[in-house]
């Protein structure tokens, strides 16, 4: 993993979580902005996957368990699509809150992934 990228990713997911939670709690249904934030979080996770696959080849190897790392990464990749699917089925303010909760989950999981990689 690249520390700078991880920090950026946690920041984006954290801001996305804040945005969706606030907009959800003031009563907004999912819109392009909140769905876009969740999409961005997912794109960064895919980039993280590519980085993780390439990193060992250029000397950036994991010190912790790769099995654990990839279990976190694959699980995290499932979260934004699941939250977005929820938002498509259930168009209520609570779906926006769920989008925020999904972003927050990803932020925590990415933080944990950095710990595992560098452990």
């Amino acid at each position: 993993m690249i520390l700078g990228f991880t920090i950026a990713q946690v920041a984006v997911a954290g801001l996305g979580a804040l945005l969706c939670l606030v907009l959800g709690l003031v009563g907004r249904v999912p819109n392009d902005l909140t769905m876009g934030a969740v999409a961005l979080v997912e794109v960064l996770l895919v980039a993280q996957l590519v980085t993780a696959l390439v990193a060992p080849a250029v000397g950036n190897t994991a010190e912790g368990s790769l099995l654990e790392y990839y279990t976190y990464l694959i699980s995290a990749l499932l979260v934004p699509p699941a939250a977005a699917f929820w938002a498509l089925v259930d168009r209520s303010r609570w779906a926006t809150v769920i989008l925020g909760a999904g972003c927050l989950t990803v932020a925590i999981m990415v933080y944990r992934m950095q710990q595992i990689w560098g452990a």
Binding site: E68, A82, W86, I98
Partner: protein, 145 residues
Amino acid sequence: MSSPSSAPVRGTPHPRLSGSGRALIAVYAVLALAATGRSFVQIVSKFDEAPLAYTLSALSAVVYIVATIALVKRARVWHTIAWVTISFELAGVLVIGTLSLVEAAWFPHDTVWSVFGRGYLFIPLVLPVLGMIWLRSQSRAKESE
């Protein structure tokens, strides 16, 4: 995260499903994902070290997945399944939580239920209780229709 895929797509969203009900389902889904991921890692990498604890982890993961689906589904049979799985979780966290304190030697490796779910912020202890309260309020709402 099987909950959204099993949500009723035909027509109306849950008219009576409150914010708390939705939050409950979301937390169940996240716990199901966490328990599944963790038990997968445990079983693949070190099953031999603690077959009992890790089999229990896998079992609890499956139960959380089923409970999540059961909370989303509307049919009466799923209501019963929700009761069964959530009761099983509560029994599991109480029995395993107590045993892990009283007979620590039996559980040298953590399960999702060890020390009443300490590794998961005690969510496994609180969640079944909230789930039961919610299920009961659902039945009452149905009866009053």
